[in-house]
Symmetry: C2
Subunit: 325 residues, 2 copies
DNA sequence: CAAGTCAACTACTACGTATTACTAAGACGT
DNA sequence: ACGTCTTAGTAATACGTAGTAGTTGACTTG
C-alpha cells in the first residue's frame, strides 16, 4: 500500500520543478512542447493523478454538484442519466441526495457544493438561496418558467391530445389529476381546465390528487352511469391504467365507451391492453439541459438555448372515436 | 461574498487554540465540557463548518463513495434511495456514475473514492480491484454469492411460483428470459431449468434474451398452436406484459389458456388487465444492505447479516388453473 | 513534601496543490 | 550595443485541517 505519487514525484522524475508539473496539468501555456511531453511521460509512468482534495483546497472550488431528487413517484433514472453525464463532461462530480428543505438549506451554505440542482417537487428553500454563494436551480421554478415562456412547456401535448379527441368526436372530458405538490401535476390540471374552456367542451370534473392508480380507479367507479362516452385525460400512465381498470370493471369498453390518455410512456404502457396513448418525455435531455443550465449559472455564463421537442404524444389503442350505442 | 470562517476564527472567538476546536469537532476526549460548550457556541455563532477538502487532505480520507449503475433497463431509483440514505447516515457522500469497465478501473486507482459499489451488470473489472486500496463491491458478485449461499437468493420466489402453478394443475412451462448480461437474468433462467427438472414437468423452452416486451410478444406469437394450456414464467414484468399481449393477440385467454408471471412489480402491473402476478423486490432495503456491506468492507469490519425476505411473490389475476377445453 | 500522575490544553507541522512573483536567456528593434 | 519584450521556467507560499509532541498546573500518593 505505497502512497500515491505527487506532483513533486513527477517533477523529480521529469527533471523539472513542481510548478511546471502543475502548469502542465492545469493546461496553462508558457511551457514548451518538449517539457510538456516529458512531464506527461513521467506522470504516465508513475500513474500520477492530481489529488483532488489538495486541488480543491487550493482553488477553493470543489468541483462537486448535488442533485436533489424525490426517490419515489417519478421515473428519474433517465433524468439522472442526462444530468450526471453532462456534469461529468464539464468536469464536475455529481452527488445524489434526497432531502428536506431544511437539509437543502444546510447544503447550500455548507459550500460543499458549487451548485445544487433540485428536482424536488417542493418550492425552493428560504432566501438563503439568494445569499448563498452556491448556485441553486430548482425544477419547480424551472417548470413554472417553462410554463410561462411556453418555449418548453407542458402545454403542447395536452392541447394536441384534447384537440385530437375533439376531432374524433369527443365532447365530454374528465381529468384525473396527480399530486398537487408536483408542479407538473398542477400545470397539467390548469391547462386541462383552460383547454376545456377554449374548446367549449364539457368537463365532468377533475378527480384524484395523488399518483395512486387505485385512487384513479375508485374515482372512475364513482362516476354516474350516463357519463359515457367519455375522454379521460390522466396526469400520468399509472392514473390512466387505474382509470382503464375502473372503466373495464364497470363494463365500459376502452376505447369504445371511454378513451384514455396518460403521460410518461411507462415501460408497460405499450403492452397494456389496450395499449396506452401517452406523452413520451425525453427525460435524458431534460436532465442534461437542466444540468447545462446549472453549470452556466455557476460559470456566470448566460443560460443555454432551451431545448424543444422534449415531449411527444404517442398515439395508441386507448384512444378512438366515441361509441354511438 | 465574505470567506467562510475557519477553525482559527472559531478558536479566536472562543478564546482557545485551533487545536482545541479541531479536537471538539473530531469528538476526541481530553476537552472539558465547559470548553467544548464554548467552542460549539462560537462555531454556531459564526456558522462554522469544517472545510471538507482540507480535512480530506489531512486525513487522506475522502469520505466519498461511488455508485455505478446502468441507467437503462432497471428500476434503480429505490436501490439508489436505500444506498444513498445508508451512506449518508454513515457520513459518506455518494456519487452516481454510469461507466464502462475501463472507466471503473480508472476510478478504482484514482483514490478519489473510498469505495465503489457497482450495480453494473458487467463482471467486475480486472485484477486492479485486488491491488487497489479502494474497496469494491459489485452486485454481480453479490448476486452470485446470494445465489450460492441461498440465504438471500433469487431462488425462493421462482420455486414458489412454479410449485404453486403445478399445484394448480400446470404441466407445461415456458421461460421468457432477460438479457444474459444481467446476472439476475441468468440466475432466473438457470433456476427455471433446474426447477423444471426437479418437478418433472415439461418445458417448451427458453425464449428471448433481452428485456424487450416486443421480443417477448413475438416469441409467444411464434409458439405452435397446441402448446396451451401453458404457464409462462417471464424474467420481468415488461416481458410478462409482452407475453400476455402476444397470447391475447393469438386468441388465447389469460389466465384461462395461459398463466403468466413476471418479476419486479412494476408501477402498472397491479392495474394490468389481467393484473400481473409478480415478484416484489424490496429494492430500498437491497440498496441499503449493499451499502452497509461496502462500508463494512471499507472499515475492515465483518459483513453485516444478510437481509432476508427481500422478495415476495404477489399473486394476482394472471395466474389460474389451466383451462380444460 | 517531593515525585509522580493525570487532565486540559497548545505550538507546530505536514498534507499536495495552484498561483504569485521572480529570474534567466534569447529575440527584437533602433 | 543597448534596452525592452517575450518565453520558459523556478522558488516560495497559502489554503484549513488533524494529529504529534509537548507544556502547563492541579491533584494524588507514599
Amino acid at each position: 500500500m505505497e502512497k500515491r505519487p505527487t506532483s513533486h514525484d513527477v517533477a523529480r522524475l521529469a527533471g523539472v520543478s513542481q510548478t511546471t508539473v502543475s502548469l502542465v496539468f492545469t493546461g496553462r501555456n508558457g511551457i514548451s512542447a518538449a517539457t510538456r511531453e516529458r512531464v506527461l511521460q513521467a506522470a504516465a509512468e508513475l500513474n500520477y493523478r492530481p489529488n483532488l482534495a489538495a486541488r480543491s483546497m487550493r482553488t477553493r472550488r470543489t468541483g462537486r454538484l448535488a442533485v436533489v431528487i424525490p426517490f419515489a413517484g417519478l421515473n428519474l433514472a433517465p433524468i439522472l442519466e442526462g444530468a450526471v453525464t453532462t456534469a461529468r463532461e464539464a468536469g464536475y462530480a455529481v452527488e445524489v441526495v434526497s432531502l428536506s428543505n431544511e437539509e437543502i438549506d444546510a447544503l447550500l451554505d455548507s459550500s460543499e457544493y458549487e451548485g445544487v440542482l433540485s428536482f424536488s417537487p417542493m418550492p425552493a428553500p428560504r432566501e438563503s438561496a439568494e445569499e448563498s454563494t452556491t448556485a441553486f436551480l430548482a425544477l419547480s421554478e424551472f417548470d413554472q418558467e417553462m410554463h410561462a415562456t411556453g418555449a418548453f412547456s407542458d402545454a403542447q401535448p395536452m392541447v394536441e391530445m384534447m384537440e385530437r379527441l375533439v376531432e374524433l368526436g369527443h365532447r365530454r372530458f374528465l381529468h384525473v389529476a396527480g399530486s398537487p405538490t408536483f408542479p407538473s401535476a398542477v400545470a397539467r390540471r390548469d391547462l386541462y381546465l383552460a383547454t376545456v374552456d377554449r374548446l367549449g367542451v364539457e368537463s365532468v370534473g377533475v378527480v384524484a390528487n395523488s399518483w395512486s392508480g387505485i385512487t384513479a380507479k375508485e374515482c372512475v367507479l364513482a362516476l354516474p352511469d350516463d357519463v359515457i362516452p367519455l375522454a379521460i385525460i390522466a396526469a400520468n400512465d399509472i392514473l390512466a391504467a387505474g382509470a382503464i381498470r375502473g372503466s373495464v370493471e364497470r363494463g365500459w369498453s376502452v376505447p369504445g365507451d371511454v378513451s384514455v390518455t396518460g403521460w410518461d410512456d411507462a415501460a408497460l404502457s405499450a403492452h397494456f391492453i389496450p395499449s396506452l396513448t401517452t406523452v413520451f418525455q425525453d427525460r435524458v435531455r431534460l436532465g442534461a439541459y437542466s444540468m447545462r443550465r446549472l453549470i452556466a449559472t455557476i460559470r456566470g455564463q448566460e443560460a443555454p438555448e432551451p431545448e424543444t421537442g422534449l415531449q411527444k404524444v404517442i398515439w395508441r389503442e386507448s384512444v378512438a372515436p366515441p361509441s354511438t350505442r
